[in-house]
């Protein structure tokens, strides 16, 4: 290991005063440092939140591995420093650097930022500022990194379109070679020709080539100015997940992180089709890794990382067609290593609970389920489909097997919601407690957590208005008063002001970049952290730009309107989404997607 270019920073007394200084050192186990290749074209993968969040996100490990698999190309990481460290960097005039070689972010060829949720948008500007890079694509001449965005927020990248030079829509595994080829071949070319070349890669969206047309409508639409470009940018996705490489040498942090364990992605996509769920649409179709592949990956991961736990990742674990065999084989394989297997994302039915039980290492302390809504009618509207009997049966089984606490997640403000649906939540919970007291030897409590429904682009509910704050307030008040009657309930209501901002940004258009910049300039970074979030700051910023947060979030959109994200497609047709919305209004269920026997013709596979 050569000398660290930031030795002077680590030796500075101020550095010792920052929270968890160890997070900034890099040098974790399994990092890739391509020695002697400091001049090779390079990508820095930036996560717009702090290290312990970013390192917990498996997508980052996947991207890191893919982009480092090419010779003559390197990929490094960077994260947002916690504000105390950001202050130290600013005071010392040290620009944001990569964790691997401490190279300033500004010196990379490409800066890739993943956008996981809307509240991270102002952190894009935080990264750019700390890196010494101008905010807007237009303000960046030659000599700056190409700023590339990706992640689930590509469902509607318009609110941040002006900050990025280009976006990648969908899964990058197969497109990575094409991108790296361009970055290597066209190194030194001007930005315009580079972007033009990139726009020919399927999945790449260059917003400057799709300028905003003059529009008087509140939500503007975009259209391609360039005849040679497709009017709609289609997402990329990998057909065969089983043969898609997976990082078997995951980086092992020294400091503790949120998800401090090895993870194997067992499936991508979800066959269920809950109508509020964006992940359920944008990661279509449902694809699986075979049990054999998962077990092999898990064993290599444990040997390479030394973790004591392996977690099986997917949107809905028990929808994996081989889940029972998989769990059985994996626990057998992991036993000699004394490694625990954990299975998050459990559906609330007895089958799922039985699969979880077969993990002998599952602790009996807590179990989490998401019934989402309080009545069968409401669960049909959102296409969750769970019956009350499913729910009570699962609770009875869980409590009688000795689980002490169960956590239940609900949403408030769902489309067509009535008072009876709110009362339904309380009824489920109070009945659930009775079940617990009757059969549970060690029954402790039911934790109930609720948040406000956020209409998300690319879902059947993308046209739906978010519930008005006054109504949400009343509904929460009602639920709270109904749940107060029992001491076995712990009710947690996540502050819905963040949900209002999420809705406005999720369905926003390109005009919102000014709002985002204003909020950032007013001190609004780290907005997913309670201590930094200020609703008033967002409201003011909208107003000062002559816009209304409320109307972005709370106005219904019509089928005849061109949506701000109308030129971005995740393969699922607009007709399918509209039909699903109509079925919701009729309280009709759509069965899970099974390509061979029960294709829903959503369009993604064709």
């Amino acid at each position: 290991m050569g000398t660290d270019p930031l030795d002077h920073l680590w030796k500075n007394k101020e550095f010792l005063t920052v929270r968890k200084p160890g997070q900034y050192l890099g040098r974790e186990w399994n990092i890739t440092v391509k020695t002697g290749q400091n001049d090779a074209p390079a990508l820095v993968l930036a996560f717009p939140d702090i290290y312990e969040i970013g390192m917990s996100y498996v997508g980052l490990h996947i991207l890191y591995q893919i982009f480092n698999s090419f010779t003559g190309f390197r990929a490094e990481r960077t994260f947002l420093p916690w504000p105390d460290m950001a202050e130290v960097l600013k005071r010392k005039g040290i620009p944001l650097f990569s964790w691997e070689t401490k190279t300033p972010v500004r010196e990379f060829d490409v800066l890739g930022i993943t956008l996981q949720h809307e509240l991270s948008y102002t952190n894009v500007l935080y990264i750019l500022e700390l890196a010494g890079i101008p905010f807007r694509s237009q303000e960046r001449g030659e000599g700056f990194p190409l700023v590339l965005g990706g992640g689930p927020c590509m469902a509607n990248p318009e609110p941040v379109a002006d900050f990025f030079d280009c976006f990648f829509i969908g899964e990058v595994e197969e497109a990575a070679a094409e991108l790296v080829h361009i970055w290597k071949e066209m190194r030194g070319s001007n930005k315009e020709s580079l972007l033009k070349e990139m726009s020919r890669v399927k999945g790449v969206y260059v917003p400057s080539l799709y300028p905003l047309p003059c529009s008087t409508s509140r939500i503007g639409s975009t259209s391609s100015a360039n005849q040679s470009l497709p009017p709609v940018v289609e997402k990329r996705w990998v057909k065969d997940l089983d043969r898609t490489p997976y990082p078997e040498k995951m980086i092992v942090p020294f400091v503790s992180i949120v998800h401090d364990r090895a993870s194997v992605e067992i499936a991508r996509g979800c066959p269920r089709g809950c109508r509020f769920c964006q992940a359920g649409i944008i990661y279509r179709p449902h694809r699986e890794r075979s049990s054999q592949t998962v077990v092999n990956i898990a064993e290599k991961l444990i040997q390479n990382t030394g973790y004591n736990e392996v977690s099986l990742l997917s949107l809905s674990s028990t929808d994996h067609s081989q889940i029972q065999a998989l769990v059985q084989d994996l626990t057998a394989k992991m036993r000699p290593y004394r490694v625990n297997v954990s299975l998050p994302s459990l559906r609330m039915d007895t089958f799922s609970l039985n699969v979880a039980r077969s993990l002998q290492t599952v602790r009996k302390s807590g179990l989490t389920f998401a019934p989402e809504a309080g009545t069968e009618r409401m669960r049909r509207i959102i296409n969750k489909g769970l019956t009350d009997a499913d729910i009570f049966q699962t609770l009875e089984t869980a409590f009688s097997l000795g689980w002490r606490e169960v956590k239940l997640y609900f949403m408030i403000g769902l489309p067509q919601e009535r008072e009876e649906d709110i009362r339904g939540i309380a009824r489920l919970v109070l009945e659930g407690i009775k079940v617990g007291r009757k059969v549970g030897k060690a029954f402790g409590s039911l934790h109930v957590s609720a948040s406000a429904f956020v209409p998300k682009p690319q879902t059947p509910f993308q046209w739906v208005a978010q519930e008005k704050p006054e109504v949400l307030k009343d509904k929460v008040g009602l639920l709270r008063s109904l749940l107060k009657r029992d001491r076995g309930v712990r009710f947690h209501w996540s502050d819905f002001e963040t949900n209002l901002v999420e809705a406005a940004l999720a369905r926003g258009d390109r005009k919102l970049s000014k709002v985002i910049e204003r909020v950032y300039q007013g001190g609004g970074f780290m907005q997913s952290w309670r201590e930094f979030f200020s609703f008033a700051r967002w409201e003011e910023a909208f107003t000062e730009e002559g816009l209304s947060l409320g109307s972005y979030a709370q106005q219904p959109l019509s089928i005849s309107q061109v949506l701000p994200w109308g030129h971005i497609s995740f393969g699922v047709s607009s007709d399918f989404l509209w039909e699903e919305y109509q079925k919701a209004t009729r309280e009709e269920l759509t069965l899970p997607c099974r390509p061979e026997t029960n294709c829903k013709k959503c369009g993604v596979c064709f």
């Binding site: 290991m1 660290d4 680590w10 030796k11 010792l16 200084p21 160890g22 050192l25 040098r27 186990w29 092992v252 020294f254 400091v255 503790s256 401090d260 444990i302 040997q303 390479n304 990382t305 030394g306 973790y307 004591n308 290593y337 004394r338 602790r363």
Partner: protein
């Protein structure tokens, strides 16, 4: 119950890894041991943990040449083999320096009788007979004073008995008060006195 084999290991914790906390190190050694394929022994009970036991925590920011921990294996491995396997799974700055079999009748926490810390100052020492006027707290003993070529000096002290659990950072306040507010540039844990070894290590 199967027979277990206990070892005492001494590793260093040098810049910049002195920014890691004791919990970070605990996790690091458990993972390094699993990566190295060591036959770890586990605790009994519902949530078995590998049997590691660590000496008194060195505060974040303090370097060390003598971090001590106990490792328990289910197989009788040669000391050198364990050392080699572990050192392949971590950075040189955290390398194992020495390893020995643990005495059967002694707990690690009871065996650590003394720790020597050095405090590194970058300015020159005005009072050259500093040690004569010192009134040290009970359990802390003067060891030596060295002058550095670069006009700085190093003071070192033994922390003995109960004081092995005392933070050298607290002691800096006392040092600073007798040195007209001077603060050390760095602190290093230099030596450990493990009773079973019979002599200072």
């Amino acid at each position: 119950m199967e027979e277990n084999y206990r070892y005492w290991l001494i590793h260093q914790k040098l810049f910049p890894f002195h920014f890691l906390s004791q919990l970070d190190l605990n996790r690091f050694w458990e993972r390094a041991a699993r990566r190295g394929g060591l036959p770890l022994a586990f605790s009994q009970g519902f949530n078995p943990r590998p049997l590691f036991s660590f000496g008194p925590a060195t505060p974040v920011g303090v370097e060390s040449r003598v971090e001590v921990f106990e490792l328990t294996l289910t197989q009788n491995w040669l000391e050198e083999e364990i050392k080699e396997k572990l050192n392949r799974e971590g950075p040189a700055e955290l390398a194992i320096q020495r390893i020995s079999r643990a005495p059967s009748n002694r707990k690690l926490s009871r065996a650590i009788r003394g720790l020597r810390y050095s405090f590194w100052f970058s300015s020159s020492l005005a009072d050259s007979s500093l040690e004569e006027g010192l009134s040290l707290p009970a359990g802390i003993e003067w060891e030596k004073k060295e002058f550095l070529a670069s006009s700085g000096f190093v003071l070192s002290f033994w922390f003995k008995g109960e004081k092995v659990f005392s933070s050298p950072i607290k002691f800096v306040e006392y040092l600073s008060s007798i040195l007209n507010g001077l603060l050390p540039e760095k602190i290093i844990k230099e030596e450990v006195f493990l009773e079973t070894e019979g002599s200072k290590s």
